[in-house]
C-alpha cells in the first residue's frame, strides 16, 4: 500500500478514536468542563499533561532545530523539562490545595483584587493564542505533505475535530482524548527512532545508540558528526557557539516560563488529592522525558543521514523525499557552481534566505529559484528545519506504514496542545471575565454555555491563524515563555511563599515584568531586527532569554511596592496558611 493511503487510514482511525472518547466523556457541569470534576487518575493526568505539553513544536520542530544547532539546542531539552521540577515543588500541590478552577482565580483571590485577576487573564490569553498559531501551522504542514490536501482544508478538518471534543467534553473530554493522543504520538515518535537507531548504530535504544559507535566501524557517532560538521564549515556538533550567559538565561526563561504556563498548571487542578498533584507531575515528566531524551538522538541520526544522502549527489539522482519536499517549497536547491551536484555546507544558500520559486524548471529538473545566490559560501541547499522529523523515515528508507504513523503522531501532538490551550482561554473568559467580574449573577448552566461559546470562538480565531499564518509566529514564541516567566510565575510563587505581598505589589510586579520583557523583545524582534546580535544585547542576553531577567524585575518591584502599601487583609494570611497545610 502506498504511504498516502496508509496515512489516510491511520489518521482516520485516530480521529474516530478521539471522537468516540469525546462522546463517551461529555461534560455535564462547570466543574466537569473546567477541571474534569477533580476525578482524573494521576497517571492518566500525567499522560494528558504530557500530550498537552508536547506540541507540534516538540514533535515536529524540536529534533530538527537541534539537528542544526547541535549543543546549542540543549536549551530546549533542559528548559522544557526542568520547568516540571519547579512546577511539582513550588506550584502544583499548593494550587491544587487552593482548589479552584483557573489560574486567574488564584491570583484574583490571593491578591483580593479584580484588577490583578484581569491582568492575569490578559497575559494568559496572549500567551495561549501565541501558542495556538504554531499548532495550526503544524496541522497544515502535515495535511499538505502527507495527504496532499489543501493546507486550508487541513486546518478546517483539524478545527472541526477539536471543536467537537473540546466544546462538547470540556476538560473531561480533552483529558481522555489527550491520554489517547499521548499513546499515538509517543508510539509514532519512538518507532522510527528505534528503526533509525538500529540502522545507524545497531543499538535498538536511541538514547544509547546516540552515544554508541556507527555500525560497521569503531567510530563514535558523535565524533563522526563533529568531524562531518567541521569538514562542511560548521561548528563542532558537541560544542556551544552561544555564550554561556545567554544559554543560561534562555534555559532559565524556558524553565520558569514552563512552570508559569496556564494550560499546564491547570492540568494539576484535575486530580483528586494534593499528593496526587505531586505524583502526577512526576508521571508527566516521565512521559515527557521519553520523547525529550529520544529527540536529541533523532537529531544526531537525522543529521548524519541527511548529509550522507545528499552531499555531492547528482540532483538527477537525488532521493524522492528531497524532491517531494522541494515541491512543497520547504527544500530548495540552487546550483551555484553549475556542476549538477548538490553541495551542502555552512551558510545561507540564498540571498534573502527563504526561497522564491518561479514556475519554470531548471536545467536538471529542479524548481527554479529566483533569489540571487549568496556567493559568500558554497552551500546550495535551503532546508526548512521543521521537516527533519517528518522526512526522517523517508530519508532512512523506512516502510510506508512508519511514514503514515509519523503523520498521525504529529497531528495528535498538534491537536492535543491546541485543545488544552483553547480550554484555558474559554475558562478564563467564561469564568474569570464573565462569572467573576462582569456578570456574577449568571447560573451555572449559563456559565457552561458561555464556556462553550468562548471555546467555539477561540477555535475559529485559532483556525484563522492557521489559514492566514501571521509571519511572526516564530518570533512570538519567545514572547509566550518570556511573559509566562516574567508575569505569571512570580505572582504565583510569591503568592504561596511570601504572605506579606499585597495586591499593589503583585499588580506592579506583573506590569513591570510585562513591560520590561515585551519592550526588550519588541525592540529587538520587531523595531530593530538588524540590531539583534550579541554585541547590542543587555549583558549579552538574547530576547529569548530575557524573560528570566524580567522575572527578577518583577520580584524586585513587587517586594518594593509591597513595603510601601499596607499588608494584605487577615483572611489572605488564613488562606495561605490553609494551602500550605498538608
Amino acid at each position: 500500500m502506498n504511504a498516502q493511503l496508509l496515512t489516510f487510514i491511520f489518521v482516520g482511525i485516530s480521529f474516530s478514536l478521539y471522537i468516540g472518547i469525546a462522546i463517551w466523556s461529555r461534560a455535564k457541569s462547570t466543574s466537569d468542563f473546567y477541571i474534569a470534576d477533580k476525578g482524573v487518575n494521576p497517571i492518566a493526568n500525567g499522560m494528558a499533561t504530557a500530550a498537552d505539553w508536547m506540541s507540534a513544536a516538540s514533535f515536529i520542530s524540536m529534533a530538527g532545530i537541534i539537528s542544526f544547532l547541535g549543543k546549542d539546542g540543549s536549551v530546549y531539552l533542559m528548559g522544557w523539562t526542568g520547568g516540571y521540577v519547579l512546577l511539582a515543588l513550588l506550584l502544583a500541590p499548593y494550587l491544587r490545595k487552593f482548589g479552584q478552577y483557573t489560574v486567574p482565580d488564584f491570583i484574583g483571590t490571593r491578591y483580593y483584587s479584580d484588577a490583578a485577576r484581569l491582568v492575569a487573564v490578559l497575559c494568559l490569553i496572549f500567551i495561549s493564542f501565541t501558542y495556538i498559531a504554531g499548532q495550526m501551522r503544524g496541522v497544515g504542514i502535515v495535511f499538505s505533505r502527507f495527504l496532499e490536501v489543501d493546507i486550508d482544508l487541513g486546518v478546517v478538518i483539524g478545527m472541526a475535530i477539536v471543536f467537537f471534543y473540546a466544546v462538547l467534553g470540556g476538560m473531561k473530554g480533552i483529558t481522555y482524548t489527550q491520554v489517547a493522543q499521548y499513546c499515538v504520538l509517543i508510539f509514532a515518535y519512538l518507532v522510527p527512532a528505534i528503526f533509525i537507531s538500529i540502522l545507524i548504530t545497531n543499538n535498538p535504544i536511541p538514547q544509547l545508540g546516540f552515544g554508541g559507535q556507527v555500525s560497521g566501524s569503531s567510530v563514535y557517532l558523535l565524533d563522526k558528526l563533529d568531524q562531518l560538521n567541521i569538514e562542511l564549515g560548521f561548528n563542532e556538533y558537541t560544542s556551544n557557539t552561544k555564550s554561556n550567559i545567554d544559554v543560561f538565561f534562555i534555559t532559565a526563561a524556558l524553565m520558569f516560563g514552563t512552570a508559569g504556563l496556564p494550560h499546564v498548571i491547570v492540568r494539576f487542578f484535575t486530580v483528586p488529592k494534593v499528593s496526587d498533584a505531586r505524583k502526577s507531575a512526576g508521571y508527566a515528566l516521565i512521559f515527557i522525558a521519553l520523547l525529550y531524551t529520544t529527540a536529541p538522538a533523532v537529531s544526531a541520526f537525522a543529521r548524519v543521514n541527511f548529509i550522507e544522502s545528499v552531499q555531492e549527489v547528482e540532483y538527477e539522482d537525488a532521493p524522492g523525499w528531497f524532491k517531494n519536499w522541494e515541491q512543497i517549497g520547504l527544500i530548495a536547491w540552487k546550483d551555484k557552481n553549475e556542476d549538477g551536484k548538490i553541495n551542502y555546507s555552512a551558510g545561507e544558500a540564498l540571498e534573502g534566505v527563504k526561497p522564491k520559486f518561479s514556475n519554470s524548471i531548471g536545467v536538471y529538473g529542479e524548481r527554479e529559484v529566483t533569489n540571487e545566490p549568496n556567493l559568500q559560501n558554497s552551500n546550495e541547499i535551503y532546508i526548512d528545519r521543521d521537516i527533519m522529523v517528518l522526512a526522517n523515515p523517508e530519508i532512512a528508507k523506512l516502510p510506508n506504514w512508519v511514514i503514515a504513523l509519523v503523520a498521525a503522531g504529529a497531528l495528535a501532538a498538534a491537536l492535543s496542545t491546541a485543545a488544552g490551550l483553547l480550554l484555558v482561554i474559554s475558562a478564563s473568559i467564561s469564568h474569570d471575565l464573565m462569572k467573576k467580574t462582569l456578570m456574577p449573577n449568571i447560573t451555572e448552566k449559563q456559565e457552561l454555555l458561555f464556556a462553550r461559546i468562548a471555546a467555539a470562538v477561540a477555535i475559529i480565531v485559532a483556525g484563522l491563524f492557521g489559514i492566514y499564518p501571521p509571519g511572526f509566529v516564530a518570533q512570538v514564541v519567545a514572547f509566550a515563555f518570556g511573559l509566562a516567566a516574567s508575569t505569571i510565575f512570580p505572582v504565583l510563587f510569591l503568592g504561596i511563599f511570601y504572605k506579606r505581598l499585597n495586591k499593589e505589589g503583585a499588580i506592579a510586579g506583573m506590569l513591570s515584568g510585562l513591560i520590561v520583557t515585551s519592550g526588550y523583545i519588541i525592540f529587538f524582534k520587531f523595531i530593530n531586527p538588524e540590531l539583534n546580535s550579541s554585541e547590542n544585547w543587555l549583558f549579552g542576553i538574547s530576547p529569548e532569554g530575557f524573560g528570566f531577567f524580567g522575572m527578577f524585575i518583577n520580584f524586585g518591584v513587587a517586594l518594593f511596592v509591597s513595603f510601601i502599601f499596607k499588608a494584605p487583609p487577615k483572611k489572605v494570611y488564613e488562606l495561605i496558611d490553609e494551602i500550605r497545610k498538608p
Partner: protein, 80 residues
C-alpha cells in the same frame, strides 16, 4: 521542626541538585566536563542533552516520597 520548615528544607535540597545538574553540569562547567567521557558522549554534552533530564525525573519522585512521609508524620488527612 514544623511541617512548613521541613517542607522548605526538602525544597532547597532538591532545587540545589536541580540547579547543579542543569545549570552547573549542563552549562557552566559543561566544557570542562567534556574532558571526561562516558561511552561516546562527552560528559558535559551528555548532561546537557540527556543526564539532566533523567535527574529531573528522579528528583520529582524523591520529592513525592519525602513529602508523603512528611504528610504521614504530621498525620494529615489529605482530603479534598
Amino acid at each position: 521542626m514544623s511541617y512548613w520548615k521541613a517542607n522548605l528544607l526538602i525544597l532547597s535540597i532538591i532545587l540545589s541538585i536541580w540547579f547543579l545538574v542543569s545549570f552547573g553540569f549542563g552549562i557552566i562547567w559543561s566544557e570542562s566536563l567534556d574532558a571526561l567521557s562516558i561511552g561516546g558522549f562527552k560528559l558535559g554534552f551528555w548532561f546537557a542533552q540527556q543526564g539532566s533530564i533523567y535527574v529531573f525525573v528522579v528528583l520529582i519522585f524523591v520529592y513525592v516520597n519525602l513529602m508523603n512521609r512528611l504528610d504521614k508524620k504530621f498525620n494529615s488527612k489529605d482530603k479534598d
